[in-house]
Amino acid sequence: MDRERYEALKQKVREELLATQGPIAQALRGVRYRVAVFSGKGGVGKTVTTINLGAVLHQMGYQVGIFDADLHGPAVPKSLGVYGRLNVTDTHPGHHQLRFDPLLSKYGLKVVSIASIWPDEETPIMWKGAHKMRSIRQFLAAVNWGRLDFLLVDLPPGTGDEVQTIMSSIPQLSGMIVVTTPQGISTMVCSKAISAARELNAPVLGLIENMSGLECPHCGGEIHLFGQPRGERLARMMDVPFWGRIPISTEMGECVDEGVPVVVKYPQARVSQAIRDMALRLLESLQVEGPMGEEEAEEQSQALHAHGHSDCGCDDHA
């Protein structure tokens, strides 16, 4: 075997080992479904979609965690009213390991965000290049997620290095949800994002059109603030399932500022109904039969417990 082929084979084995036994794989071993929410463009409502999907899934009885991967504009904690700091957990006294328990929101969602490790809101995170990618991976690997039915990853906008790193670092990524708005520019950029996901072999589960029409409070007619809906056409064009439209609503804006998912505060609102339908589409697309059963949870818990005592690397627990 020549040198080049030998190196390629070695690399393949290493990648396979990392995917199943690497620190990120170990940290996510209790997670059944890993789903990333992304878009080509910023400001389309990925975070709001993510937290509300998470809240609906939790209402249905699923255990849900949210990883806010947007280093430069982390918004998940504020949108869920989570203001605490991530604390390092002591695995064994005297051993200093960088491991965190996620923060728990009032609505039952486990949350991890870079915003929860930064001492103040005013200081920007100025990490650059490879440092950012290392930090995302280090952070992913350091969280004690425990037993989860769903881990929703709120990705930064675009198709840059951060998104690619996360897509390729999460082993057995169940799929991606694409969020767009009716604007032509957003659908155009989204088509690139879908192509990028395909390039990276990440299955695209469905496309959501957010901010799609506003119901006139006087006559009940629909006002298309961002133009006529284009999401469905984009989905057809890119051969991606279209999961529906989330309308613009005043309730949504109010809920984001208050740190409450709209599906919790206004369960009867049109916007909440639309998000519930999308959560059902997610369950359907992943063929989820229901929340993790007691038996399965017990198995997971034992496996996690065993993991907790073996990954330290110290001789005391070998």
Binding site: P23, V88, I117, P119, D120, M133, R134, S135, R137, Q138
Partner: protein, 152 residues
């Protein structure tokens, strides 16, 4: 005693000397790593030697040990920045090498150099966020150097 009106002015549970010790320790680790990255860049150190040296630095353990203070105290944000950079190099060295190659460590050299400069500035007596003693020996922290130490 609390100096009113400034959210960075707070009563601290640790002493000034403790904070200075941490600053100095982080500065020492960062300077060592900077020297190694520089030597690696000048091909005076192999990639294996650099990986071993960074892993032996113990930045992650130090970050974990002082975590609660580092994330709560704005005055320690420069220390957090340096330790976070070093600990990510410690754990994800191989990933960086495979994905970005040898030259990517030059960016870390530059970033670490800037972070250490910020850390040194934060250690100056009147640096914003710097803890210092006031009359009764309580440590206070100011967001600007113009906050009067006498407070109220």
């Amino acid at each position: 005693m609390m100096v009113g009106g400034d959210r960075y002015v707070m009563r601290d549970s640790f002493s000034v000397s403790e904070e200075e010790t941490l600053h100095r320790q982080v500065l020492r680790l960062g300077s060592l790593a900077l020297e190694w990255l520089g030597r690696f860049g000048r091909e005076q150190m192999t990639v294996e030697e650099l990986a071993n040296a960074l892993q032996g630095l113990g930045a992650q353990a130090m970050l974990a040990k002082h975590w609660s203070r580092l994330v709560e105290e704005p005055g320690l944000s420069s220390c957090l920045e340096v330790l976070q950079l070093l600990s990510s190099l410690e754990t994800e060295f191989q990933f960086q090498l495979l994905r970005y190659g040898f030259t990517s460590f030059y960016d870390d050299y530059k970033e670490l150099e800037q972070a250490l400069a910020r850390l040194r500035r934060s250690m100056l007596p009147d640096a914003p966020g710097k803890a210092r003693f006031i009359e009764d020996g309580t440590a206070v922290r100011s967001s600007t150097s113009t906050v009067s130490e006498g407070g109220q």
